[in-house]
């Protein structure tokens, strides 16, 4: 049984991606008989190429993928370099961690309200400092260059990369390397960059690629903050897929393949950049310059990190205020009055989506957990961990743009009459939940002291008993945190729920984005808060449960 886990896991991760890609590849080459596409050809690509503004859309996607990732990585790297082991680091780290579970859409709405000309920042200083009685006509949000979109993405990806980096740090022996560098006279930042970063980067390379893939194919954040005319390629794709002119399906499918090419190109450019940086870095190391005067750099890194954190936190605070706002006109900093009406109105309609979110999230998480535990236990017993290739398989669903394969996957589910069922939505979520659960659990699992299992065995415990009575309970905290991560990922899923669920499985996130079309900030506020609270509930349970269960076991609490 256990031996079936790895192939099953690979199937869950790769199957839907491959099936979905086949589903878009056929129409991309003209094959979709129900619309009269009976033979293969390149017409859809010709049609695609003739689209007005396509070049700009592609450039936007490429830029979003590369600039976002570069900016986020720089901030994270220099922040760790300059501040690791300081109180500032500890404080910011504690604030950043929960931000990871804030859904992208919610964060984007918050930031939009913060930086818009009628937003909180301008309200804070108007009309007293600016003389503005009405909002100025500045193109800040939805700017054609996509700067607002990229800023929003950077703010949201910084927590992700920071936590990935922190997870990898123990394997880099950072503290001792830093001491050695310092004793050789290197500044804090330079010492980290020269002595630790190359090892750290190797560990977080796949997460970095995932950020490139995500940012170059993002839909929800782009809808809120991104350029509209033309939008980035992925937004354009979704529009085509939903165009009432059904012939657009061909163009959309060709576009999906183009999206994959764009994402791959972004990653390729990044890899070239890696080589360049490696060469420059080697030269810098060889120069022996100590970089002791790094005060300004350290300050800038902390400022950038704080700015990103503040943007999300303040934005969410703004949404929370909106969810309670009565009349609230420019330039008032706060609403004229507060009311619970928005929450009252939402209360009735929230029940079903919240229930669906829980059911889908919990089932997907449990399945992911079972597969992950089975794989890890199998690995522990056989000693085969699949190596680097298995890591690539894990990251595959995160590296292939969602829009590109989900559309094709839809057809597959229809064919088996599974569309719109909870089960189908769970399967679609699983594709994205499983990698995160696996990544979250594999490190603590592999770090577990094997001797406990040996002791259990020599005391007469079968492998199953050793697993259930020793390994699993001792790793309960890690298992629960992995589950909370999986649940948070499930809560945030938009496209998979929408496409596979067909509107019959409305979750909080699909409802939030559907309602967002109304631009009613009170409703958006309510849903964004709910969207945010659900993952927090998961993490709260993950922390509280071991604390309660093991309240009399101090070694377990210390471990958690």
């Amino acid at each position: 049984m256990l031996r079936l886990a790895p192939p099953l896991t690979i199937l869950v991760l790769i199957g839907p991606v491959v099936a979905g890609l086949v589903g878009v590849a056929l129409p991309a080459f003209g094959y979709l008989p129900v619309l009269g596409g009976e033979s293969f050809g390149l017409a859809p690509f010709a049609d695609l190429a003739a689209t007005a503004g396509l070049g700009r859309s592609i450039l936007l996607s490429l830029a979003a993928g590369l600039i976002t990732t570069l900016a986020a990585l720089l901030v994270v790297t220099f922040f760790i370099a300059g501040w690791l082991g300081t109180p500032v680091f500890a404080v910011l780290r504690r604030i950043v961690s929960p931000l990871l579970s804030v859904p992208h859409a919610a964060a984007a709405f918050g930031i939009a309200f913060l930086i818009a000309p009628s937003g909180w920042l301008v309200r804070l200083v108007s009309p007293e400092l600016t003389g503005w009685r009405y909002p100025p006509d500045f193109l800040v949000v939805n700017d054609p260059m996509g700067l607002a979109m990229m800023a929003g993405l950077v703010a949201k990806e910084i927590p992700f990369l920071l936590l990935m980096a922190l997870a990898a740090l123990p394997q880099t022996d950072a503290a001792r390397s830093a001491h050695v560098a310092a004793s050789l006279g290197y500044g804090k930042t330079a010492g980290f960059l020269f002595a630790v970063f190359p090892r750290l980067y190797r560990q977080i390379r796949l997460p970095v690629f995932a950020v490139i893939a995500y940012a170059s194919s993002v839909v929800d954040v782009a809808l809120v903050l991104g350029p509209t005319n033309p939008p980035p390629l992925a937004v354009q794709l979704v529009r085509w897929m939903n165009d009432p002119d059904l012939a657009m399906r061909f163009r959309a499918s060709a576009g999906a393949l183009l999206q994959i090419a764009v994402t791959l190109s972004a990653i390729a450019v990044w890899i070239l950049g890696e080589r360049l940086v490696a060469r420059l870095g080697a030269a810098a190391v060889a120069s022996g310059r100590r970089g002791t005067a790094d005060g300004a750099v350290r300050f800038a890194a902390a400022a950038a990190m704080s700015l990103a954190v503040a943007a999300i936190v303040l934005g969410l605070a703004g949404l929370a205020v909106w969810s309670l706002a009565g009349p609230w006109r420019f330039p008032d900093v706060l609403p004229a009055s507060f009311t619970l009406e928005g929450w009252h109105r939402a209360a009735g309609t929230l029940a079903d989506p919240v229930a669906a979110t829980f059911v889908v999230g919990i089932v997907a998480t449990l399945v992911a957990l079972v597969l992950t535990l089975a794989c890890l236990e199998n690995e522990a017993r056989t000693g085969r961990d699949g190596g680097d290739r298995s890591l690539l398989v894990l990251y595959l669903p995160l590296l292939v743009p969602q829009v590109a394969f989900l559309y094709g996957l839809q057809v597959l589910f229809f064919r088996f009459g599974l569309d719109g069922t909870l089960g189908a939505v769970v399967v679609a979520h699983l594709v994205f939940v499983l990698p995160y659960v696996f990544l979250a659990l594999s490190d603590p699992w592999r770090a577990f002291d094997r001797r406990y299992v040996a002791v259990a065995a020599t005391l007469g415990a079968s492998p199953a008993r050793a697993f259930w009575r020793v390994r699993a309970p001792m790793l309960l905290a890690a298992i629960l945190v992995a589950a909370a991560v999986g649940f948070a990922v499930s809560v945030g899923q938009y496209l998979p729920t929408l496409l596979v669920g067909g509107g019959r499985v409305p979750t909080v996130t699909t409802e939030a984005v559907a309602l967002a079309a109304g631009r009613d900030r009170r409703v958006i506020g309510v849903y964004a808060i709910v969207q945010m609270v659900l993952p927090f509930v998961g993490f709260w349970i993950a922390l509280a449960l071991p604390a309660v269960l093991y309240r009399d076991r101090s070694a377990m609490r210390a471990a958690a």
Binding site: G503, L515, R519
Partner: protein, 405 residues
């Protein structure tokens, strides 16, 4: 993996190959049988969900049909009706001829034309055979039988009347422009304070058509498909006009709001001074909620504004056809229509012929206070019929080509 690949391909190929007849549809002429069949059915109604007051109204409808007919109604919330068209098409692609995921869809215009053209709608005529259809004002409201000039043919049931209405804050903007020329003059005097939703948003495209009505060399051209006329010549004055208007607009025309709701929010924030909507009571409702100041008033253009009817349609593979018919019929009932017209509920005007209503119903309808910023039928003036849907398609394409890059 290879198995999955094969499955995926097989799914597509098989899906396309299978066809087959669906079970016999319920017959609305035998209404008692429809009611009996509908009882206990669950109807998935895919409807745009961008306005909470509309969602609340749909929830009210759900409670009523459950109480009255034992039909369970589920509002599948949609951000763009085109998604529903895509979904039904995908089901047809996959060979799903029955048990579809959509039972009822809120629709009109381009989306209706597309579904009709692709044969995605349930067999006609069902809507005109519904009991309450007899009350529909087909003579006084011709758009109930001709959806953007496309004949309805009993394929969709009229649900509500919409007309493009502009609004402004009289305290800030005393004199609102009521023609294309005065609009551009006003914009020159108030740079950055006017915009329109980005086509192909419905309201944005309607603004283009509204301006086209004033600028087109010959209005009769609009009744025919755009392909049969000289579209470029017809649209040239419009685009020349927009070329001049855009630099005077909000964000100099380099960004556009997403839809009518976003437009209203911009007005509420004071970023723009003129907004418009397809809901005649939009301004009153927003005033009631405290979203807009009570100095906001509505107006229409001197030449009148575009009006249309919105409908509910049933896909060919709907799973609960009897239930869907019961819901569609209830939507046309005096009770539902009167409730919908209340501005605090929705403020969407009725499709029924008021003269044909029972005296009590008529009194209820008259008793509705439409709100401080709502125009009376007389003030609403002339309704300009929608051009053929092809105009919308061509205008959106041309707009995108010109301003989309």
């Amino acid at each position: 993996m290879t198995i999955w690949k094969r499955l995926g391909a097989a799914a597509l190929v098989l899906g396309l190959a299978t066809g087959g007849a669906a079970a016999a549809d319920p017959d609305p002429k035998n209404w008692d049988a429809v009611l009996a069949e509908a009882k206990g059915e669950t109807v998935y109604w895919h409807a745009w969900a961008g306005e909470s007051r509309i969602n609340d109204y749909i929830a009210w409808v759900g409670a009523e049909v459950e109480k009255r007919f034992g039909v369970k109604l589920v509002h599948a919330k949609v951000s763009d009706t085109a998604e529903v068209v895509a979904r039904v098409l995908a089901e047809k692609t996959a060979g799903k001829t029955g048990g579809g995921s959509v039972d009822l869809v809120w629709i009109n215009g381009e989306n209706f034309a597309a579904m009709k053209r692709e044969g995605l709608l349930a067999a006609a005529p069902w809507s005109s055979a519904l009991p309450n259809y007899a009350l529909v004002d087909t003579a006084g409201k011709p758009t109930t039988t001709s959806d953007f000039t496309v004949p309805v043919d009993g394929l969709e049931a009229p649900w509500g009347m919409a007309q493009l209405v502009f609004y402004h804050d009289t305290a800030r903007t005393p004199d609102a422009p009521k023609s294309a020329q005065s609009l551009i003059d006003w914009a020159a005097a108030h740079p950055g304070r006017f915009t329109y939703p980005q086509p192909p948003d419905f309201t944005g495209s309607t603004f283009l058509k509204q301006m086209l009505y004033e600028l087109v060399p010959d209005r009769a051209m609009l009744e025919k498909p755009a392909e049969e006329t000289d579209f470029d010549a017809a649209a040239a004055p419009l685009f020349a006009y927009l070329d001049k208007l855009h630099p005077l607009m909000w964000r100099e025309g380099r960004a556009f709001p997403e839809n009518a709701s976003a437009l209203r929010t911009l007005l509420a924030d004071g970023e723009i001074e003129i907004a418009f909507s397809f809901h005649q009571t939009e301004a009153s409702t927003a005033i009631g909620k405290g979203e807009l100041p009570d100095t906001v008033r509505s107006y229409v253009m001197d030449i009148g504004t575009i009006g249309n009817t919105h409908f509910v349609a049933m896909p060919f593979n709907a799973n609960a056809k009897a239930g869907a018919m019961v819901v569609a019929d209830f939507l046309m009932s005096p009770d539902a229509q009167i409730e919908k017209q209340k501005p605090e509920v929705w403020g969407d005007f009725t499709v029924l012929d008021v003269a044909r209503l029972a005296a009590a119903d008529r009194a209820r309808l008259d008793a509705i206070d439409l709100g401080i910023a709502t125009l009376s039928p007389a003030e609403l003036g002339k309704v300009l019929p929608e051009p053929h849907p092809s105009w919308m398609v061509r205008l959106e394409e041309a707009w995108k080509k010109r301003y989309g890059a």
